[in-house]
């Protein structure tokens, strides 16, 4: 009886702390700074920027990172101690990161090839020039792509491999028909793609967020319950608030690029099935020539492991000797994996391997 009363009192305290924290957040007093690792902008291409994170001493090879177009890059540098960038830079890797920026209505007609070929090519070029001018340590990049940024990067590396030594895809959809519920919703008979792009221009971030939320409708309950049960922990509160802030800060998907992306990837599953001509040349992962390491998150409801590991079946299959493709599953969800402890270690191990 005493135990029950203690527990009830503790829960009451917790509930009042929970309410206070929510009030503090709502008033704007609890604001978290994300993306705080020091960096400089090396290059701008329309809204996209190439960010350079310099290590104190360059001890390892340069890393090129392509972030998703539909979110801000700060998920890779959320908080001190919860930052992939911080760990890579701390280990001596110079990091070059593509931040796609926030497309506006003027970008609605920008074709997908502009992002996949021109922007990524230019960013990798400028990164390599910077490497040559500063350390001259490498003439090729080790590339990491996350989510849609990984899909774009995979397509780019398959089409223009010269600048890249190898590729790591993180929670990157390749076999789109293995994306579970998202694949079912995105069938041409259900999803009014043309009407949406024609009517709205860019595909709005709010719609994207809602569709991801509906993939796991009880996720919201788990989120609030998680906060309530650990609200006394200041570190957890800060992490929770930072994730919420990041999650609410989405980016619209440029309309025409979205049309091509959904049609070819979700409708046709063309990265695996083939037959995709982008800007007059084929998108053929079968010609992918560099070694690939694919990482999936164990509880990813947006890009399940089957969708991420689709690259195993597609990559380099048209070559006489296919390059090595390795896979790894890390504990976490689609977003949570970026702020967990396992991802930086997995990336550093991959970067250290030959």
């Amino acid at each position: 009886m005493i135990a029950l009363s203690d527990a009830a009192r503790r829960d009451l305290d917790r509930t009042s702390q929970f309410a206070l924290f929510l009030a503090e957040r709502a008033s704007g007093a609890f604001r978290v700074t994300t993306g705080a690792s020091p960096h400089q902008v090396l290059h701008r291409d329309n809204k996209a920027r190439l960010l350079y994170f310099a290590p104190v001493e360059v001890a390892r090879r340069p890393v090129f990172v392509s972030m998703p177009l539909i979110n801000t890059w700060t998920i890779f540098d959320l908080l001190p101690g919860r930052s992939v960038i911080e760990r890579l830079v701390g280990a001596g890797h110079p990091v070059y990161l593509v931040d796609w920026g926030r497309p506006g209505p003027e970008d609605a007609e920008t074709p997908l090839a502009r992002y996949v070929d021109t922007t990524l090519g230019r960013m990798a070029d400028r990164a390599l020039r910077h490497v040559a001018a500063t350390t001259g340590a490498a003439d090729q990049l080790d590339a990491i792509g996350y989510c849609v940024g990984g899909t774009f990067l995979t397509m780019h590396v398959a089409r223009a491999p010269a600048r890249f030594r190898r590729l790591c895809t993180l929670a990157t959809p390749i076999d789109f028909h293995a994306s579970g519920r998202l694949a079912a919703w995105s069938k041409p008979e259900h999803f009014p793609l043309d009407a949406l792009v024609d009517g709205l221009g860019n595909y709005p971030k709010e719609m994207m967020r809602e569709s991801f939320r509906m993939l796991r409708p009880t996720g919201d309950g788990a989120k609030w319950h998680g906060l309530w049960s650990r609200v006394e922990d200041e570190g957890f509160r800060t992490l929770w608030a930072a994730l919420e802030q990041w999650n609410g800060d989405g980016v619209d998907f440029p309309g025409e690029a979205y049309r091509e992306y959904v049609r070819r990837c979700y409708f046709d599953n063309a990265l695996v099935a083939g037959g995709w001509m982008l800007d007059g040349s084929p998108v053929d992962l079968g010609r992918g020539a560099v070694p690939v390491h694919a990482i999936a998150a164990s509880a990813d409801h947006i890009v399940p492991a089957a969708a991420a590991f689709g690259i195993e079946r597609a990559w380099g299959r048209a070559l006489p000797v296919a390059p090595r493709v390795t896979t790894q599953t890390i504990r976490g969800g689609h977003v949570g994996v970026c702020v967990g402890r396992d991802l930086p270690e997995a990336l550093l191990a991959w970067l250290a391997s030959e």
């Binding site: 070029d125 020039r129 259900h190 999803f191 043309d194 024609d198 009517g199 221009g201």
Partner: protein, 158 residues
């Protein structure tokens, strides 16, 4: 934080309640999200988006009638700026390529000059070696004889 179920029955009960709720809600949502009604709702987003597009066009026409700048005008202006930027970036790409080529040419020219210089040095060395006297064939027996022998050798070379 792990909950000790033996000492905290309230917390254990709470956890059990939450898990039951999550499971039940998940099952219910699964049914909803895979029902034909849900797919119909997804499809209905299309006409809504089209209606929004038409509304925007109507707003633009109204503003145009009032001689006011429309959203499309602003977008058009921004597109022009973006196109100019694109062209500048394309020029930058070309300049960098030209720079690369010049550096490569300079390197090749330098290499060619070094090779030519080395070849000239080698030819000069060869001609000097050819011009140099042949080494003495007989070993000197005594210092006095050695001098004579060396002189003879030099003369022989001439």
């Amino acid at each position: 934080m792990p909950v000790d179920k033996t000492t905290e029955p309230f917390a254990a009960f709470q956890g059990e309640m939450y898990n039951t709720w999550e499971k039940a809600m998940g099952a219910w949502w699964d049914q909803v999200l895979e029902s034909p009604a849900f797919y119909d709702t997804v499809k209905s987003v299309g006409p809504m988006a089209q209606a929004r597009g038409q509304y925007r066009q109507a707003m633009d026409s109204a503003l145009r009638e009032l001689q006011l700048p429309t959203r499309d005008d602003v977008v058009r202006l921004t597109k022009i700026v973006t196109q100019v930027e694109d062209r500048l970036l394309a020029q930058e790409d070309l300049l960098l390529q030209v720079q690369d080529r010049l550096i490569a040419m300079e390197r090749e020219a330098l290499k060619a000059r070094i090779e030519a210089a080395e070849a000239r040095i080698a030819a000069e060395a060869a001609s000097r070696a050819a011009a140099a006297p042949a080494p003495a064939e007989t070993a000197p027996a005594a210092p006095a004889a050695a001098s004579t022998s060396a002189n003879t050798g030099r003369r022989g070379a001439r």
